[in-house]
Protein backbone atom coordinates (compact mmCIF):
# COMPACT_ATOMS: atom_id res chain seq x y z
CA UNK A 1 0.00 0.00 0.00
CA UNK A 2 1.73 3.15 -1.12
CA UNK A 3 -0.22 6.22 0.05
CA UNK A 4 0.42 9.82 -0.91
CA UNK A 5 1.33 12.37 1.74
CA UNK A 6 -2.15 13.87 1.45
CA UNK A 7 -3.71 10.50 2.18
CA UNK A 8 -1.47 10.01 5.19
CA UNK A 9 -2.28 13.51 6.49
CA UNK A 10 -5.97 12.86 6.16
CA UNK A 11 -5.57 9.52 7.87
CA UNK A 12 -3.51 10.72 10.82
CA UNK A 13 -5.34 14.03 11.33
CA UNK A 14 -8.71 13.51 9.72
CA UNK A 15 -10.99 16.51 9.48
CA UNK A 16 -14.64 16.36 10.50
CA UNK A 17 -14.61 13.15 12.51
CA UNK A 18 -17.68 12.36 14.57
CA UNK A 19 -21.38 13.14 14.61
CA UNK A 20 -22.47 16.74 14.14
CA UNK A 21 -25.38 17.82 16.26
CA UNK A 22 -28.49 18.60 14.33
CA UNK A 23 -27.43 16.71 11.22
CA UNK A 24 -30.42 16.55 8.87
CA UNK A 25 -28.98 14.19 6.28
CA UNK A 26 -27.29 10.93 7.24
CA UNK A 27 -26.03 8.30 4.84
CA UNK A 28 -24.27 5.03 5.44
CA UNK A 29 -22.81 2.60 2.95
CA UNK A 30 -20.57 -0.45 2.93
CA UNK A 31 -20.56 -3.50 5.14
CA UNK A 32 -18.13 -4.79 7.71
CA UNK A 33 -17.78 -8.05 5.78
CA UNK A 34 -16.25 -6.07 2.96
CA UNK A 35 -14.05 -4.22 5.36
CA UNK A 36 -15.53 -0.73 4.98
CA UNK A 37 -18.46 1.17 6.47
CA UNK A 38 -18.82 4.88 5.95
CA UNK A 39 -21.40 7.05 7.65
CA UNK A 40 -21.72 10.67 6.58
CA UNK A 41 -23.56 13.40 8.52
CA UNK A 42 -24.69 16.56 6.74
CA UNK A 43 -26.17 19.79 8.10
CA UNK A 44 -28.00 21.45 5.23
CA UNK A 45 -29.55 24.89 5.60
CA UNK A 46 -32.75 26.15 4.10
CA UNK A 47 -30.96 27.50 1.04
CA UNK A 48 -29.85 23.95 0.28
CA UNK A 49 -26.26 24.73 1.24
CA UNK A 50 -24.21 22.17 3.15
CA UNK A 51 -23.16 24.12 6.23
CA UNK A 52 -21.31 21.32 7.92
CA UNK A 53 -20.39 17.67 7.30
CA UNK A 54 -18.78 14.91 9.29
CA UNK A 55 -18.10 11.20 9.12
CA UNK A 56 -17.59 7.99 11.01
CA UNK A 57 -15.68 5.28 9.23
CA UNK A 58 -14.76 1.65 9.78
CA UNK A 59 -12.09 0.87 7.24
CA UNK A 60 -8.58 1.13 6.00
CA UNK A 61 -6.38 4.18 5.74
CA UNK A 62 -7.76 5.06 2.34
CA UNK A 63 -11.32 4.84 3.62
CA UNK A 64 -10.60 7.21 6.49
CA UNK A 65 -8.72 9.63 4.26
CA UNK A 66 -11.45 9.54 1.60
CA UNK A 67 -14.09 10.31 4.23
CA UNK A 68 -12.05 13.17 5.59
CA UNK A 69 -11.35 14.66 2.19
CA UNK A 70 -14.88 14.18 0.88
CA UNK A 71 -16.56 15.85 3.84
CA UNK A 72 -14.09 18.70 3.67
CA UNK A 73 -14.78 19.21 -0.02
CA UNK A 74 -18.57 19.38 0.13
CA UNK A 75 -18.87 21.85 2.97
CA UNK A 76 -20.18 25.10 1.52
CA UNK A 77 -21.56 23.44 -1.59
CA UNK A 78 -25.24 23.43 -2.52
CA UNK A 79 -26.93 20.08 -2.62
CA UNK A 80 -27.14 20.37 -6.40
CA UNK A 81 -23.39 20.88 -6.59
CA UNK A 82 -22.81 18.09 -4.08
CA UNK A 83 -25.10 15.88 -6.15
CA UNK A 84 -22.53 15.99 -8.94
CA UNK A 85 -19.71 15.08 -6.61
CA UNK A 86 -17.82 12.11 -8.01
CA UNK A 87 -15.37 9.64 -6.52
CA UNK A 88 -12.68 10.84 -8.91
CA UNK A 89 -12.92 14.27 -7.23
CA UNK A 90 -11.79 12.59 -3.99
CA UNK A 91 -9.06 10.63 -5.70
CA UNK A 92 -7.71 13.75 -7.38
CA UNK A 93 -7.80 15.74 -4.19
CA UNK A 94 -5.90 12.99 -2.39
CA UNK A 95 -3.22 12.99 -5.04
CA UNK A 96 -4.20 9.51 -6.12
CA UNK A 97 -5.04 6.19 -4.47
CA UNK A 98 -3.60 2.70 -5.04
CA UNK A 99 -5.69 0.85 -7.63
CA UNK A 100 -7.09 -1.60 -5.11
CA UNK A 101 -8.25 1.29 -2.91
CA UNK A 102 -10.23 3.24 -5.47
CA UNK A 103 -13.38 1.63 -4.11
CA UNK A 104 -12.90 3.63 -0.88
CA UNK A 105 -13.40 6.86 -2.80
CA UNK A 106 -16.48 5.34 -4.43
CA UNK A 107 -17.88 4.59 -1.00
CA UNK A 108 -17.30 8.19 0.09
CA UNK A 109 -19.17 9.55 -2.93
CA UNK A 110 -21.98 7.06 -2.37
CA UNK A 111 -22.25 7.93 1.31
CA UNK A 112 -22.65 11.60 0.41
CA UNK A 113 -25.38 10.83 -2.10
CA UNK A 114 -27.08 8.65 0.50
CA UNK A 115 -26.97 11.49 3.02
CA UNK A 116 -28.46 13.93 0.49
CA UNK A 117 -31.21 11.46 -0.40
CA UNK A 118 -31.90 11.03 3.30
CA UNK A 119 -32.23 14.81 3.66
CA UNK A 120 -34.56 15.04 0.70
CA UNK A 121 -36.69 12.11 1.88
CA UNK A 122 -37.09 13.64 5.32
CA UNK A 123 -37.93 17.02 3.81
CA UNK A 124 -40.49 15.59 1.42
Amino acid sequence: MEYTDVVMENFTCPKHVGEIEGANGIGQVGSPACGDIMKIFLKINDDGVIEDASFKTFGCGAAVASSSMATDMIIGKTIEEAGKFKNSDVVDALGGLPAEKIHCSVLAAEAIQAAIEDYQKKKA
Binding site: M8, V17, K39, A63, V64, D118
Partner: protein, 401 residues
Protein backbone atom coordinates in the same frame (compact mmCIF):
# COMPACT_ATOMS: atom_id res chain seq x y z
CA UNK B 1 13.09 6.95 14.62
CA UNK B 2 13.79 3.55 16.14
CA UNK B 3 11.71 0.89 14.47
CA UNK B 4 10.19 -2.03 16.33
CA UNK B 5 9.81 -4.93 13.97
CA UNK B 6 7.09 -7.34 15.06
CA UNK B 7 6.47 -9.23 11.86
CA UNK B 8 8.96 -12.07 12.13
CA UNK B 9 6.40 -14.51 10.74
CA UNK B 10 6.47 -12.54 7.48
CA UNK B 11 10.24 -12.45 7.26
CA UNK B 12 13.34 -11.95 9.37
CA UNK B 13 16.46 -9.85 8.91
CA UNK B 14 19.45 -11.89 7.82
CA UNK B 15 21.77 -12.60 10.74
CA UNK B 16 25.16 -10.84 10.25
CA UNK B 17 26.99 -14.16 10.74
CA UNK B 18 24.84 -15.60 7.99
CA UNK B 19 25.70 -12.70 5.66
CA UNK B 20 29.38 -13.36 6.37
CA UNK B 21 28.96 -17.01 5.48
CA UNK B 22 27.37 -16.10 2.20
CA UNK B 23 29.66 -13.34 0.93
CA UNK B 24 32.62 -15.39 -0.39
CA UNK B 25 30.28 -17.29 -2.67
CA UNK B 26 29.49 -14.28 -4.83
CA UNK B 27 33.01 -13.31 -5.84
CA UNK B 28 35.84 -15.67 -4.84
CA UNK B 29 34.04 -19.00 -4.60
CA UNK B 30 31.77 -18.28 -7.49
CA UNK B 31 32.28 -21.58 -9.31
CA UNK B 32 29.49 -23.71 -10.67
CA UNK B 33 29.29 -26.75 -8.37
CA UNK B 34 28.70 -28.98 -11.38
CA UNK B 35 32.12 -28.14 -12.85
CA UNK B 36 35.03 -30.56 -12.58
CA UNK B 37 37.78 -27.99 -11.98
CA UNK B 38 38.93 -26.53 -8.68
CA UNK B 39 36.46 -23.63 -8.58
CA UNK B 40 33.56 -26.01 -8.99
CA UNK B 41 34.75 -28.73 -6.64
CA UNK B 42 35.36 -26.33 -3.75
CA UNK B 43 31.83 -25.02 -3.94
CA UNK B 44 30.35 -28.48 -4.30
CA UNK B 45 32.00 -29.52 -1.05
CA UNK B 46 30.73 -26.42 0.71
CA UNK B 47 27.19 -27.16 -0.39
CA UNK B 48 27.42 -30.50 1.36
CA UNK B 49 28.31 -28.70 4.58
CA UNK B 50 25.14 -26.64 4.28
CA UNK B 51 23.09 -29.71 3.43
CA UNK B 52 24.36 -31.39 6.57
CA UNK B 53 23.47 -28.35 8.67
CA UNK B 54 19.93 -28.43 7.35
CA UNK B 55 19.72 -32.19 7.83
CA UNK B 56 20.84 -31.91 11.43
CA UNK B 57 18.34 -29.17 12.17
CA UNK B 58 15.45 -31.53 11.32
CA UNK B 59 17.18 -34.84 12.17
CA UNK B 60 17.27 -36.07 8.59
CA UNK B 61 19.94 -37.68 6.46
CA UNK B 62 21.67 -35.09 4.24
CA UNK B 63 20.74 -37.18 1.22
CA UNK B 64 17.11 -36.47 2.04
CA UNK B 65 17.52 -32.69 1.72
CA UNK B 66 16.78 -30.97 -1.61
CA UNK B 67 17.24 -27.23 -1.95
CA UNK B 68 14.50 -25.17 -3.62
CA UNK B 69 13.97 -21.51 -4.49
CA UNK B 70 11.49 -20.89 -1.66
CA UNK B 71 9.16 -22.49 0.85
CA UNK B 72 6.41 -22.09 -1.73
CA UNK B 73 8.37 -24.09 -4.29
CA UNK B 74 8.94 -26.83 -1.69
CA UNK B 75 5.18 -26.99 -1.01
CA UNK B 76 4.32 -27.02 -4.71
CA UNK B 77 6.89 -29.69 -5.43
CA UNK B 78 5.79 -31.93 -2.58
CA UNK B 79 2.13 -31.80 -3.49
CA UNK B 80 2.29 -31.82 -7.29
CA UNK B 81 5.25 -34.20 -7.32
CA UNK B 82 3.44 -36.77 -5.20
CA UNK B 83 0.13 -36.27 -6.99
CA UNK B 84 1.56 -36.67 -10.48
CA UNK B 85 3.76 -39.63 -9.59
CA UNK B 86 1.13 -41.57 -7.68
CA UNK B 87 -2.04 -40.79 -9.61
CA UNK B 88 -2.38 -44.35 -10.83
CA UNK B 89 -2.95 -45.36 -7.19
CA UNK B 90 -5.57 -42.73 -6.55
CA UNK B 91 -6.41 -39.09 -6.97
CA UNK B 92 -7.53 -38.06 -3.50
CA UNK B 93 -5.63 -35.60 -1.31
CA UNK B 94 -6.40 -34.46 2.23
CA UNK B 95 -5.41 -31.05 3.58
CA UNK B 96 -6.91 -28.41 5.88
CA UNK B 97 -8.74 -25.13 5.44
CA UNK B 98 -5.99 -23.15 7.17
CA UNK B 99 -2.98 -24.03 5.04
CA UNK B 100 -0.71 -21.41 3.56
CA UNK B 101 -1.74 -20.38 0.04
CA UNK B 102 1.27 -22.25 -1.33
CA UNK B 103 -0.54 -25.43 -0.28
CA UNK B 104 -4.14 -24.33 -0.77
CA UNK B 105 -3.74 -22.90 -4.24
CA UNK B 106 -1.68 -25.88 -5.32
CA UNK B 107 -4.46 -28.19 -4.18
CA UNK B 108 -7.02 -26.08 -5.98
CA UNK B 109 -4.94 -26.29 -9.14
CA UNK B 110 -4.83 -30.07 -8.84
CA UNK B 111 -8.61 -30.12 -8.46
CA UNK B 112 -8.80 -28.54 -11.90
CA UNK B 113 -6.57 -31.34 -13.19
CA UNK B 114 -8.99 -33.99 -11.95
CA UNK B 115 -7.77 -34.61 -8.41
CA UNK B 116 -10.17 -34.59 -5.46
CA UNK B 117 -9.24 -32.68 -2.34
CA UNK B 118 -10.76 -32.85 1.15
CA UNK B 119 -10.22 -29.69 3.18
CA UNK B 120 -10.44 -30.62 6.87
CA UNK B 121 -12.12 -28.00 9.05
CA UNK B 122 -10.54 -26.68 12.25
CA UNK B 123 -12.02 -25.79 15.63
CA UNK B 124 -12.14 -22.30 17.13
CA UNK B 125 -8.46 -22.61 18.10
CA UNK B 126 -7.37 -23.71 14.66
CA UNK B 127 -6.82 -27.39 15.49
CA UNK B 128 -7.91 -30.19 13.18
CA UNK B 129 -9.67 -33.22 14.62
CA UNK B 130 -7.94 -36.58 14.32
CA UNK B 131 -11.33 -38.23 13.91
CA UNK B 132 -12.12 -35.98 10.97
CA UNK B 133 -8.83 -37.02 9.46
CA UNK B 134 -9.53 -40.73 9.97
CA UNK B 135 -12.95 -40.35 8.43
CA UNK B 136 -11.59 -38.48 5.46
CA UNK B 137 -9.07 -41.15 4.50
CA UNK B 138 -10.23 -43.20 1.53
CA UNK B 139 -8.88 -46.08 -0.50
CA UNK B 140 -7.70 -43.66 -3.16
CA UNK B 141 -6.06 -41.17 -0.79
CA UNK B 142 -2.47 -40.71 -1.93
CA UNK B 143 -1.36 -37.71 0.10
CA UNK B 144 -2.10 -35.95 3.36
CA UNK B 145 -0.63 -32.46 3.66
CA UNK B 146 -1.18 -30.66 6.95
CA UNK B 147 0.83 -27.71 8.15
CA UNK B 148 3.05 -27.95 11.22
CA UNK B 149 2.25 -24.51 12.60
CA UNK B 150 -0.06 -21.87 11.19
CA UNK B 151 1.51 -18.65 9.96
CA UNK B 152 -1.34 -16.39 11.04
CA UNK B 153 -2.68 -17.63 14.36
CA UNK B 154 0.36 -19.69 15.35
CA UNK B 155 -1.56 -22.86 16.19
CA UNK B 156 0.59 -26.01 16.24
CA UNK B 157 -1.10 -29.08 14.79
CA UNK B 158 -0.66 -32.58 16.30
CA UNK B 159 1.80 -33.62 13.58
CA UNK B 160 3.10 -36.71 15.34
CA UNK B 161 -0.38 -38.14 15.88
CA UNK B 162 -1.35 -37.25 12.33
CA UNK B 163 1.81 -38.97 11.12
CA UNK B 164 0.92 -42.16 12.97
CA UNK B 165 -2.57 -42.31 11.52
CA UNK B 166 -1.37 -41.60 8.00
CA UNK B 167 1.58 -43.98 8.17
CA UNK B 168 -0.60 -46.84 9.35
CA UNK B 169 -2.68 -46.43 6.21
CA UNK B 170 0.43 -46.40 4.03
CA UNK B 171 -0.32 -42.92 2.73
CA UNK B 172 2.34 -40.27 2.08
CA UNK B 173 2.42 -37.40 4.59
CA UNK B 174 3.73 -33.90 3.88
CA UNK B 175 3.92 -31.07 6.36
CA UNK B 176 4.66 -27.40 5.73
CA UNK B 177 7.07 -26.60 8.56
CA UNK B 178 8.05 -23.16 7.27
CA UNK B 179 6.78 -21.48 10.44
CA UNK B 180 7.87 -24.23 12.81
CA UNK B 181 11.61 -24.33 12.11
CA UNK B 182 13.55 -22.24 14.59
CA UNK B 183 10.53 -21.97 16.87
CA UNK B 184 9.75 -25.50 17.97
CA UNK B 185 11.69 -28.78 17.67
CA UNK B 186 11.31 -30.36 14.23
CA UNK B 187 12.36 -34.00 14.04
CA UNK B 188 11.39 -35.90 10.91
CA UNK B 189 12.27 -39.25 12.46
CA UNK B 190 10.06 -38.71 15.48
CA UNK B 191 7.21 -37.19 13.50
CA UNK B 192 6.64 -39.84 10.84
CA UNK B 193 6.57 -37.31 8.05
CA UNK B 194 7.61 -38.24 4.51
CA UNK B 195 8.05 -34.74 3.17
CA UNK B 196 8.62 -31.46 4.98
CA UNK B 197 8.99 -27.91 3.62
CA UNK B 198 11.17 -25.20 5.12
CA UNK B 199 12.27 -21.71 4.08
CA UNK B 200 15.39 -19.66 4.77
CA UNK B 201 13.96 -16.21 5.34
CA UNK B 202 11.87 -17.23 8.33
CA UNK B 203 14.96 -18.23 10.31
CA UNK B 204 17.25 -15.22 9.78
CA UNK B 205 18.45 -16.47 6.42
CA UNK B 206 17.88 -14.86 3.02
CA UNK B 207 14.70 -14.91 0.95
CA UNK B 208 14.54 -17.10 -2.13
CA UNK B 209 15.96 -20.28 -0.64
CA UNK B 210 14.03 -23.20 0.79
CA UNK B 211 14.31 -26.94 1.06
CA UNK B 212 12.19 -30.02 0.80
CA UNK B 213 12.93 -33.03 2.94
CA UNK B 214 12.04 -36.17 0.98
CA UNK B 215 12.29 -39.39 2.94
CA UNK B 216 14.42 -41.96 1.15
CA UNK B 217 12.33 -44.03 -1.25
CA UNK B 218 9.28 -41.75 -1.41
CA UNK B 219 8.12 -41.79 -5.06
CA UNK B 220 7.89 -38.23 -6.38
CA UNK B 221 8.02 -36.48 -9.75
CA UNK B 222 10.27 -33.48 -10.31
CA UNK B 223 8.75 -30.01 -10.41
CA UNK B 224 11.70 -28.36 -12.17
CA UNK B 225 13.25 -30.56 -14.82
CA UNK B 226 16.65 -30.03 -16.41
CA UNK B 227 20.24 -30.45 -15.27
CA UNK B 228 21.50 -33.10 -12.87
CA UNK B 229 21.61 -30.84 -9.80
CA UNK B 230 20.29 -31.98 -6.41
CA UNK B 231 20.84 -35.60 -7.34
CA UNK B 232 18.71 -35.13 -10.48
CA UNK B 233 15.64 -34.12 -8.49
CA UNK B 234 15.67 -30.32 -8.79
CA UNK B 235 17.26 -28.66 -11.79
CA UNK B 236 18.85 -25.22 -11.93
CA UNK B 237 22.34 -24.02 -11.09
CA UNK B 238 22.50 -24.07 -7.30
CA UNK B 239 21.92 -20.80 -5.44
CA UNK B 240 25.26 -21.42 -3.77
CA UNK B 241 25.49 -18.29 -1.62
CA UNK B 242 21.97 -18.61 -0.26
CA UNK B 243 22.33 -22.34 0.30
CA UNK B 244 25.39 -21.64 2.45
CA UNK B 245 23.42 -18.93 4.25
CA UNK B 246 20.44 -21.20 4.81
CA UNK B 247 22.70 -23.91 6.23
CA UNK B 248 24.30 -21.49 8.65
CA UNK B 249 20.95 -20.02 9.66
CA UNK B 250 19.57 -23.50 10.32
CA UNK B 251 22.59 -24.36 12.41
CA UNK B 252 22.21 -21.21 14.51
CA UNK B 253 18.47 -21.78 14.81
CA UNK B 254 18.84 -25.28 16.16
CA UNK B 255 21.77 -24.49 18.43
CA UNK B 256 19.83 -21.68 20.06
CA UNK B 257 16.35 -23.09 19.78
CA UNK B 258 15.57 -23.43 23.47
CA UNK B 259 17.00 -20.06 24.40
CA UNK B 260 15.25 -18.27 21.55
CA UNK B 261 11.93 -19.99 22.12
CA UNK B 262 11.97 -19.18 25.84
CA UNK B 263 12.77 -15.55 25.09
CA UNK B 264 10.02 -15.20 22.52
CA UNK B 265 7.48 -16.97 24.70
CA UNK B 266 8.16 -14.66 27.64
CA UNK B 267 7.66 -11.55 25.52
CA UNK B 268 4.67 -13.02 23.74
CA UNK B 269 2.94 -13.68 27.04
CA UNK B 270 3.78 -10.18 28.22
CA UNK B 271 2.28 -8.77 25.04
CA UNK B 272 -0.86 -10.88 25.24
CA UNK B 273 -1.35 -9.99 28.90
CA UNK B 274 -0.81 -6.28 28.21
CA UNK B 275 -3.31 -6.21 25.37
CA UNK B 276 -5.99 -8.40 26.93
CA UNK B 277 -5.92 -6.54 30.24
CA UNK B 278 -5.86 -3.03 28.87
CA UNK B 279 -8.00 -3.08 25.77
CA UNK B 280 -11.71 -3.96 25.90
CA UNK B 281 -13.51 -5.95 23.23
CA UNK B 282 -10.49 -7.88 22.06
CA UNK B 283 -9.99 -11.58 21.44
CA UNK B 284 -6.89 -13.70 21.13
CA UNK B 285 -6.90 -15.84 18.00
CA UNK B 286 -5.30 -19.28 17.94
CA UNK B 287 -4.71 -21.75 20.72
CA UNK B 288 -3.80 -20.43 24.17
CA UNK B 289 -1.00 -22.98 24.67
CA UNK B 290 -0.42 -24.90 21.44
CA UNK B 291 0.93 -21.87 19.66
CA UNK B 292 4.23 -20.67 18.26
CA UNK B 293 6.38 -18.99 20.92
CA UNK B 294 6.55 -15.72 18.99
CA UNK B 295 2.98 -15.44 17.75
CA UNK B 296 0.27 -13.12 19.09
CA UNK B 297 -2.87 -12.57 17.03
CA UNK B 298 -5.77 -10.40 18.14
CA UNK B 299 -9.10 -9.23 16.82
CA UNK B 300 -10.24 -5.80 17.89
CA UNK B 301 -13.97 -5.30 17.46
CA UNK B 302 -15.37 -2.38 15.43
CA UNK B 303 -12.18 -1.43 13.63
CA UNK B 304 -10.29 -2.52 10.58
CA UNK B 305 -6.81 -4.02 10.51
CA UNK B 306 -5.04 -1.91 7.91
CA UNK B 307 -5.81 1.28 9.80
CA UNK B 308 -4.24 -0.30 12.89
CA UNK B 309 -1.16 -1.25 10.85
CA UNK B 310 -0.84 2.23 9.38
CA UNK B 311 -1.19 3.83 12.80
CA UNK B 312 1.46 1.53 14.21
CA UNK B 313 3.75 2.10 11.25
CA UNK B 314 3.62 5.85 11.76
CA UNK B 315 5.02 5.46 15.26
CA UNK B 316 7.64 2.95 14.17
CA UNK B 317 6.00 -0.41 14.73
CA UNK B 318 5.75 -3.07 12.02
CA UNK B 319 2.98 -5.64 12.37
CA UNK B 320 0.64 -7.46 10.04
CA UNK B 321 -3.00 -8.18 9.57
CA UNK B 322 -3.62 -11.66 8.25
CA UNK B 323 -0.87 -13.34 6.33
CA UNK B 324 1.77 -11.07 4.89
CA UNK B 325 1.52 -12.96 1.65
CA UNK B 326 -2.13 -12.18 1.26
CA UNK B 327 -2.15 -8.58 2.39
CA UNK B 328 -1.79 -7.63 -1.25
CA UNK B 329 -5.27 -8.95 -1.79
CA UNK B 330 -7.86 -7.39 0.45
CA UNK B 331 -9.80 -10.56 1.23
CA UNK B 332 -10.32 -11.27 4.88
CA UNK B 333 -7.94 -13.98 6.05
CA UNK B 334 -9.13 -17.48 5.19
CA UNK B 335 -7.63 -18.71 8.46
CA UNK B 336 -9.67 -16.34 10.62
CA UNK B 337 -12.81 -17.30 8.72
CA UNK B 338 -11.94 -20.98 9.22
CA UNK B 339 -11.80 -20.58 13.00
CA UNK B 340 -15.32 -19.17 12.83
CA UNK B 341 -14.89 -15.42 12.95
CA UNK B 342 -17.39 -13.31 11.00
CA UNK B 343 -15.76 -11.47 8.11
CA UNK B 344 -16.31 -8.12 9.81
CA UNK B 345 -14.37 -9.23 12.85
CA UNK B 346 -11.67 -10.90 10.79
CA UNK B 347 -10.94 -7.54 9.17
CA UNK B 348 -9.97 -6.21 12.58
CA UNK B 349 -7.12 -8.62 13.14
CA UNK B 350 -3.59 -7.75 14.14
CA UNK B 351 -0.70 -10.19 14.13
CA UNK B 352 2.42 -9.29 16.07
CA UNK B 353 5.23 -11.83 15.82
CA UNK B 354 8.20 -11.59 18.12
CA UNK B 355 11.80 -12.33 17.16
CA UNK B 356 15.06 -13.21 18.85
CA UNK B 357 16.02 -9.56 19.26
CA UNK B 358 12.72 -8.16 20.49
CA UNK B 359 12.99 -6.60 23.98
CA UNK B 360 10.70 -6.04 26.96
CA UNK B 361 10.87 -2.31 26.24
CA UNK B 362 9.66 -2.93 22.72
CA UNK B 363 6.65 -4.80 24.05
CA UNK B 364 5.82 -2.16 26.62
CA UNK B 365 6.03 0.57 24.00
CA UNK B 366 3.75 -1.38 21.70
CA UNK B 367 1.13 -2.06 24.36
CA UNK B 368 1.02 1.56 25.51
CA UNK B 369 0.59 2.87 22.02
CA UNK B 370 -1.81 0.20 20.92
CA UNK B 371 -4.22 1.20 23.68
CA UNK B 372 -4.40 4.71 22.28
CA UNK B 373 -4.54 3.67 18.65
CA UNK B 374 -7.41 1.28 19.20
CA UNK B 375 -9.25 3.92 21.19
CA UNK B 376 -8.78 6.58 18.51
CA UNK B 377 -9.90 4.29 15.70
CA UNK B 378 -12.92 3.11 17.64
CA UNK B 379 -14.01 6.69 18.21
CA UNK B 380 -13.90 7.14 14.47
CA UNK B 381 -15.94 4.00 13.79
CA UNK B 382 -19.67 4.06 13.07
CA UNK B 383 -20.09 0.70 14.77
CA UNK B 384 -19.78 -0.14 18.45
CA UNK B 385 -21.51 -2.14 21.17
CA UNK B 386 -24.58 0.06 21.02
CA UNK B 387 -24.69 0.29 17.28
CA UNK B 388 -23.49 -3.16 16.33
CA UNK B 389 -22.53 -4.46 12.97
CA UNK B 390 -25.93 -5.93 12.16
CA UNK B 391 -27.56 -2.56 12.50
CA UNK B 392 -25.02 -1.01 10.26
CA UNK B 393 -25.62 -3.63 7.64
CA UNK B 394 -29.34 -3.28 8.05
CA UNK B 395 -29.23 0.47 7.60
CA UNK B 396 -27.24 0.06 4.44
CA UNK B 397 -29.57 -2.54 3.06
CA UNK B 398 -32.61 -0.40 3.83
CA UNK B 399 -30.98 2.55 2.15
CA UNK B 400 -30.76 0.71 -1.08
CA UNK B 401 -34.48 -0.05 -1.13
Amino acid sequence: MKRIYLDHAATTPVDPTVVETMLPFFTENFGNPSSVYTEGRTVKKSLEVARLQIAKAINADPREIYFTGSGSEADNWAIKGIAMKNQAKGKHIITTTIEHHAVLHTCEYLEKQGFEVTYLPVDEFGLISLDDLKNAIRKDTILVTIMFANNEIGTIEPIKEIGEIVKEKGIIFHTDAVQALGNVPVDVKDLNVDLLSISGHKIYGPKGIGALFIRKGVPIDNLIHGGAQERKKRAGTENTAEIMAFGKAAELASENLEKNAAHMKELRDLLIKGVMENIPQVRLNGHPEKRLPGNANFCFDYIEGESILLSLDIIGIAGSSGSACTSGSLDPSHVLLAIGLPAGVAHGSLRLTIGNHTTVEDINYVVENLIQIIDRLRKMSPINAECPIDDAVFEKASHHH
